[in-house]
């Protein structure tokens, strides 16, 4: 594993992604998703909304890192809020 040059932050990052995927699977088994239309222009399933949330989180982080001097934690907090909004009302 040493060739993968792991660091604590990246390990935490991938564990959270894995946990999210596992959680989504469990949620799907307990109550299968229903495709619906929220404030997004397209109708989405739960998994679609998670994907949109994560992809936009990546770009929110890139935008903060590249073009502002704000801390990355603000980007993280913003992404988390955005993800929750998206999952609930998207």
């Amino acid at each position: 594993m040493s060739w993968m040059v792991w660091t604590t932050p990246t390990a935490i990052f991938f564990s959270s992604i894995a946990a999210m995927l596992a959680g989504m699977t469990l949620w799907e088994i307990l109550s299968p998703t229903v495709e619906r239309k929220g404030f997004l222009p397209i109708s989405t399933t739960r998994g679609d909304r998670l994907f949109i949330g994560l992809l936009s989180a990546a770009f929110i982080h890139l935008g903060f890192i590249g073009f502002t001097t704000f801390s990355i934690w603000i980007a993280l907090a913003l992404s988390a809020v955005w993800l929750l909004v998206l999952m609930r009302w998207g």
Partner: protein, 296 residues
């Protein structure tokens, strides 16, 4: 949708071998790239955590920003040419008999040529002293030189890509057109529909699925283009035809800057993912709106 139907999902286990294969060929290497992107790895025992520094450098690098813009212009240009041209070629291709087979074989030939060979062919083809096109244009009095004029280099690369990849779009559309049942055309004839109406309301809607594949393939391919321009122009004159892959290769292999190139690859990957997703969702959504019964 149909909640009282019991679904058996055991067939998903058959995907497992593929998943393991992808894990080794894509997911684990991608995780390693993520790990590299936040560190300065000097050797097996000397590495330093740099956090977001590489991402910041890459996003503000003016050479990379220029390469990104160039890449976008290139991909959109070739899509705007190849998709209509491919549909057009598919429409005029013979439908049956030996002519159909002959045209199919002729049209497939460019697809069989390896990327760097395509680059070499065009490099020789456009040379002013021995190349047919280069020599011909020079004899006509046109000052054509891909190593000196950025415009000529661009036009040649676009022409080369159109020559190499339009056949793929044409073949996909051809197969899409062949799968339209004859009854649609009969109905159109009874209504005395014009050629344009047949195209607009029968052929184009039935081509949507293959066009999604064509647009996605051509976008991803052209966005990652490397060997052809590298052999043809080497990214020049100056850096006027240096696209993203070539910038990345120079950084990762030429200069061994693994941290910055890892950060850059991730940004590159995210952009491809975003654009492909937007294309896919838009086209699939357009289709869903038209058939609310979910006929797609």
């Amino acid at each position: 949708m149909n909640n009282n139907k019991v679904q058996n999902n055991r067939a998903w286990w058959l995907v497992l071998p593929m998943l393991i294969l992808v894990a080794f060929s894509a997911i684990i290497p991608l995780m390693t790239v993520v790990n590299y992107s936040v560190q300065d790895v000097l050797g097996p025992h000397a590495r330093f955590f740099t956090g977001t520094e590489w991402f910041q450098t890459m996003l503000n690098d003016s050479a990379l920003q220029a390469a990104f813009l160039r890449q976008m212009i290139f991909s959109l240009t070739i899509l705007a040419i190849q998709i209509p041209l491919g549909i057009g070629i598919a429409l005029i291709m013979p439908k049956r008999g030996w002519q159909a087979s002959a045209v199919l074989i002729l049209i497939t030939l460019p697809l069989l040529i390896p990327w760097n060979v395509v680059g070499s062919i065009w490099q020789i083809f456009t040379r002013g002293d021995i190349g047919l096109m280069g020599w011909g244009l020079r004899e006509l009095g046109i000052n054509y030189n891909i190593t000196r004029n950025a415009g000529d280099a661009w036009a040649t690369i676009i022409l080369m890509d159109v020559w190499h990849w339009t056949p793929l779009v044409a073949m996909l559309c051809y197969s899409g057109l062949r799968s339209i049942p004859e009854a649609y055309y009969q109905a159109a004839r009874i209504d005395r529909a014009s050629k344009w109406a047949v195209f607009r309301y029968i052929q184009l809607p039935k081509l949507t699925n293959v066009l999604v594949i064509a647009v996605l393939l051509r976008f991803m391919h052209s966005f990652m283009i490397y060997a052809e321009p590298f052999v043809l122009t080497g990214g020049g004159p100056g850096s006027s035809t240096t696209f993203l892959s070539q910038s990345l290769a120079t950084m990762a292999i030429g200069q061994q800057d693994l941290g910055p190139s890892a950060a850059f690859s991730l940004i590159y990957f995210l952009v491809i993912l975003l654009v492909s997703w937007i294309f896919y969702t838009t086209i699939m959504h357009m289709q869903k709106d038209k058939n609310p019964q979910g006929g797609a």
